[in-house]
């Protein structure tokens, strides 16, 4: 093997090794939960920061939304199926905010263990259909699959 071939071989090996390491590490990273949305279970377990703002994600519990008449204050419960957490918010809610819908709230813990949200975002899902179809589905009692894909398609991470 002449020096030139040797150099080329070294070069290629180095690149392959580097890319290999990169891919492995990226794999490790993706197993971790990076873009933290805490779910109510984690909040119940006290895993959230005390004095920093964080995000919590979950489904709005059916029938839990209480609006203050006269101002924009609203209180609702979020669930991930196991635990629940109470969220207070003041402001205009997005169109997609409704009971049973997946949302993300940014805020801080208050003294009672509730979340004071500064922002509430509604997460949309991958399903699109006309209202009539939705009615038909409702009648068929086939609702989970359509309305809570956030939980059904990716249960492990965010919510």
């Amino acid at each position: 093997m002449n020096p030139k071939q040797r150099n080329r071989l070294i070069l290629i090996t180095v690149i392959v090794v580097c890319v290999g390491i990169a891919v492995t590490l990226a794999g490790i990273a993706l197993k971790e939960n990076i873009n933290l949305f805490y779910n109510p279970t984690q909040i119940a377990a006290g895993e959230v920061p005390k004095d920093a703002s964080f995000r919590v994600g979950g489904l709005v519990v059916e029938g839990s939304v209480r609006r203050n008449p006269g101002d924009l204050k609203v209180t609702f419960e979020l669930t991930d199926g196991a635990e629940q957490v109470t969220v207070h918010y003041e402001g205009i809610l997005p169109d997609l905010f409704r009971e049973g819908q997946g949302i993300i709230a940014q805020g801080r813990m208050n003294a009672e263990g509730h979340v004071n949200a500064s922002e509430v975002l509604a997460k949309h899902d991958e399903t699109y259909m006309p209202p009539e179809v939705q009615d038909a589905l409702d009648k068929a009692g086939n609702i989970e699959d359509a309305a809570a894909p956030g939980t059904s398609s990716k249960p492990a991470k965010g919510y």
Binding site: I92, P94, L96, L121, A122, E126, Y128, M129
Partner: protein
């Protein structure tokens, strides 16, 4: 193989081919836009949750797809410039950048317009949105570098390196919704699964996407062809062609 590639992509040949595609894709784009607009404005139903706002999708999604597709086209063209030094590819890459920037901007703008009513925010710093913003910066960088280097060939190659380095951003945009828990929704339309979407909506979306793609083909070829003509103005074939058209007069 190489010689074949060069012949196929010779400026003269490119001019002819581009002319052909411009004509036919031009008509295609017209028809597709007409039917796509009709479908998306009148024939597709409102969404069960989003109501009429869903119609933003018919611009947002095709624009977003185009923004990535154009970048890939630009990077591949740049590869041809760097490896085989094909002039037509340089012209194509150069023509891609402003179009790509335009579609990226369109995706960003329609996305935020859509985000306000749907999510409750114009803009959130999540992975999909951020990476799309980086895409815009990459296009701008590509154009800035091209315009800063005086020698056209060197400019094409230097910007080509940048385009190829930046391609790493494309998988990040595409998979961001899966790798990170973004606010932006995941893919509805994949090759592997049947879309969870009403057929009329689906047709509108596909029509509009095709219309955008055709428009891109027409626009990019027109720009590239004009540039080639300008650069080759002193060459034999351009003179012949212009001479020919003079005689016709």
């Amino acid at each position: 193989m190489l010689a074949w590639l060069h012949r196929l992509a010779s400026p003269k040949r490119f001019h002819g081919l581009a002319g052909f595609f411009i004509t036919w894709c031009g008509w295609g784009a017209l028809v597709l836009f007409a039917s796509g607009l009709y479908y998306s404005l009148f024939n597709s139903p409102p969404d069960y949750q989003q109501g009429e706002s869903i119609r933003i999708m018919y611009i947002h999604v095709p624009a977003a797809w185009n923004s990535m597709f154009i970048y890939i086209t630009m990077a591949i063209a740049s590869l041809f410039v760097l490896v085989w030094r094909i002039k037509a590819a340089a012209a194509v890459a150069r023509a891609c950048a402003p179009l790509g920037a335009m579609f990226t901007f369109l995706a960003l703008a329609t996305g935020s317009l859509w985000g306000k009513p749907m999510w409750g925010a114009w803009w959130v710093w999540d992975a999909r949105l951020t990476s799309e913003l980086i895409l815009l910066f990459l296009y701008l960088g590509f154009m800035a570098l091209q315009s800063a280097i005086e020698d056209k060939d060197a400019a094409a190659r230097a910007a080509g390196v940048l385009a190829i380095v930046g391609i790493i951003n494309i998988p990040i945009i595409y998979y961001s919704v899966e790798w990170w828990n973004t606010l932006h929704q995941g893919a509805t339309i994949t090759l592997s699964e049947k879309p969870k979407m009403n057929t009329d909506m689906f047709i509108s979306l596909i029509l509009m996407s095709l219309a955008f793609k055709f428009y891109f083909v027409v626009a990019v070829l027109r720009k590239a062809r004009n540039e080639m003509l300008e650069r080759e103005q002193n060459s034999q074939w351009v003179k012949e062609m212009l001479g020919g058209s003079d005689e016709r007069k």
